[in-house]
Symmetry: C2
Subunit: 231 residues, 2 copies
């Protein structure tokens, strides 16, 4: 099995479990006794970066520029959420514009041949950042329950009119692929990111691999029976 | 309601969600619209400290000495787990001995009058660190499923003979109070720490407070119906 490079975005006051849940799942060192499947890299516009409403300071492993400069090498991009007012504030700044550009470039890159998958995974209100990048146009999506209306508004704003984005209450959603073949996956709020990450593991490493990771972290998977999956 | 100070231990290669799950729950800024109930402080022997098998580097908010010097002010101590071999290596060093001393002092401190609760919460194999501190003698406990036998061995070793420690397979366990009145709570593996943290929130801030936090992070609580609670 090829290995997959996972880039995990951090920005001011991103939620803690929004990024650490996926980081935990993707950094499980082995899946079913096989060699390491995922290599994770945390990255940020800032260094260090304080997240979780001031409660956790992280030294990211790469800068936003470093990830941008070799974006083609990253197969999975994780975009965590945070309080909507913090996200809006971030989006209005140079940082937000750089993040939006990076996301737009990422979803326009065909999957690497050997890996065969490229996936943008938003967790919680991280989907608002994808909305601002106009990536959710015409898609059925999900986000944290506080942002069900806001995400449609932000998608419309980014589209400069009616975006056709429809938000549904789900544990996670497979919102379909971009023209380049990049799959968009949205988790619901916070801990949903663990389920959505396990769905991504299942996609690229198989059901057994996902169950191995779930068992290792003593997690009962949710959302598999009622997830919305784009045709 | 009084506010509670939560000290969260970090050590080399501690598991990510073992500490970040409790940090997420205790740093929810408000419970049911009330003022902030918990103040969290991450601390470590190292600065910065790399956890999660090399995948996350954190700048802790306090040193081990700083927490030790005002230990009386901390109402809740969170001890995350990690790979048993990493924990054993850590315990053999100066760092491990300092951590064991800190835990032993903590469980001998009566709860603060206003708060009325003092709690040591282990997550996952963090219970092995409590075992090494001889805090689990005579108690029914739990830990990650890979360490059910090891924890009894380590408790016996710390007790210098038969410890009477009995490990059960549970989402979390309330292992009872020390002579000073400090409650010992053990979570099972990794994500169980979210449930055990919500149990601690319920103890000190009520059932509604715990449900508020669970709803905010879109988490379905587990373990309440079959938890082992010391008489």
């Amino acid at each position: 099995m090829p290995s997959f490079n996972v880039a995990i975005l951090l920005y001011p006051n991103a939620d803690i479990v929004d990024f650490s849940g996926p980081l935990e799942i993707f950094s499980c060192s082995a899946y079913g006794g096989r060699e390491k499947v995922f290599n994770t890299t945390t990255f940020s516009f800032h260094n260090p970066i304080t997240v979780g409403a001031g409660n956790l300071t992280v030294v990211p492993q790469a800068s936003l520029n470093e990830i941008e400069s070799k974006l083609e090498e990253y197969d999975i991009l994780v975009v965590p959420g945070g309080a909507p007012e913090d996200i809006k504030e971030m989006l209005a700044k140079e940082e937000g514009k750089a993040i939006v550009r990076l996301i737009q470039r990422f979803v326009a890159l065909e999957p690497r041949k050997e890996q065969g998958h490229r996936i943008a995974l938003s967790v919680c209100t991280g989907a608002l950042v994808l909305a601002a990048a106009n990536v959710l146009k015409g898609r059925t999506v999900t986000t944290h329950h506080i942002a069900y209306e806001l995400i449609e508004e932000m998608a419309d704003e980014a589209a400069g009119g009616e975006s056709g984005t429809k938000c549904v209450k789900k544990r996670w959603v497979d919102a379909g692929k971009t023209e380049a073949g990049v799959r968009i996956v949205n988790a619901g709020g916070v801990t949903s990111g663990i389920d959505a990450s396990l769905f991504v593991v299942e996609l690229v490493a198989g059901k057994e691999g996902a169950q191995f990771a779930a068992d290792l972290v003593e997690f009962e998977r949710r959302g598999q029976d009622d997830a919305w999956v784009a045709k």
